[in-house]
Amino acid sequence: MGIRMTYIYSLFQYIPFIAEGVLWTASLVLGGLGIGFIIGLPLAIAQSFGGKKLGKVLNAYVWFFRGTPLLVLLSLFYWAIFPSFGFKLDPLKTSILVLGMRSGAYQSQIFKDSIKSVDYGQILAAKAIGMTQRKLILYIVLPQALRISIPAWSNEYAVILKDSAICFALGVMEILTRVRYVSTATGLALIPYLFAGILFFVLTFSGTGIMDFIHKRTRIPGMVEGLR
């Protein structure tokens, strides 16, 4: 029992080590979401307004990233694709890029659905006052579509946060990788993994809470309800 308690006390010294993992996880999530947004939004616009042929080509990208397990994608890009193009990226950068490309495929579907829910009558009205396609996308469609997509986007945050744990496979020093290290070092499993679970829960809860706050602040009377 005494030895056990010693191990538990020794866990405290690992708290800063695990807490640093939160920063790595945050880098994976924010980087992945950011790259996903940069890829997903133009993809959704192109799929919605770019015609059928372009839509089919872009669908291939979407289906590749949606249909391939994350672990396979991480391995494929880290061991094969990036090196074959001469890029020697470290595990963190590779993971952020892969999470981003994959999230881009998912986010494109979120934005595409939101764009679709802006009724066509408004697009006709924008054309009728002389707006070009670029302007009507920018000033009529996107301000509404982005607001509508906040709840689904918040869900994507929670998904990518949980998926980030898979990056331990490449040795990225995120929360799970560090907790596994601590577990091995101390011989304890329950407390370190419980701690990891709590950290992920807090990150999920606080992140989606912020998104809910943004959603409420940007809500326009009758708009979302009217479009659903």
Binding site: Q122, A125, K127, I129, M131, I140, Q144, M223
Partner: protein
Amino acid sequence: MIVLRAEDVWKRYDDTIVLRGVSLNLKKGETKVIMGPSGAGKTTFLKCLNLLVKPDKGRIWIDGEEITSPKADITRLRQKIGFVFQELNLFHHLTAIGNVMIGLTKVKGMSKSDALKKAKETLKRVHIEEELWRKYPAQLSGGQKQRVAIARALAMDPIVMLYDEPTSALDPGLSSEVLLVIKELSERGITSLIVTHEMGFAYEVADEIVVMNRGRIIGGGSPEELRNAKNDEVRNLLNKWNGLKDGVLV
């Protein structure tokens, strides 16, 4: 002076021919009303005039410039045509005044302060009270929404206003406030082409009424001429709408 001219306009959707060689001229300051049963092609024809629907055949001129020409600057020419839809197509994310301003700032390139001034003037013109200017479409009644839509089109200083059944989505009580605005604008010399089922309104406001059926114009004339129409097809349609016998309007 003719400000809008359509010549031999045809449109087909799959196997259905919706427009069969429709031609029409609209003179400056004139108010013309298009009437006809559902499926006559009225809305399609109106949408062809600013190329919201592309005609299969035929030519259309706005203010002397051919909008159907492959070289036409369609977005510039559309600014010369105000279009009011039956479906109350306001932009949901913008307030009433925002709906009127957006075309002025983003299409006409006006400064925000000039656009605001113009939007206020135009909203007053269609009798939208100041307390409604900052309301979103969902907070407005159907009649108010349609008047904001008229203001949005009117603020762009079009040379012609097209109204596509502007009261068909409204309760009868709300229709009158919209019709009153259209009538006022028409009396002030705004060139207008109106598709409507409101027969009393049509007779009151129109310089000329055009009757469409099955994708073609089957008759027309001044309200007085139409009251005494000799064409059987026109008379039958008028009787049907009026519920009156012998096409006599009271």
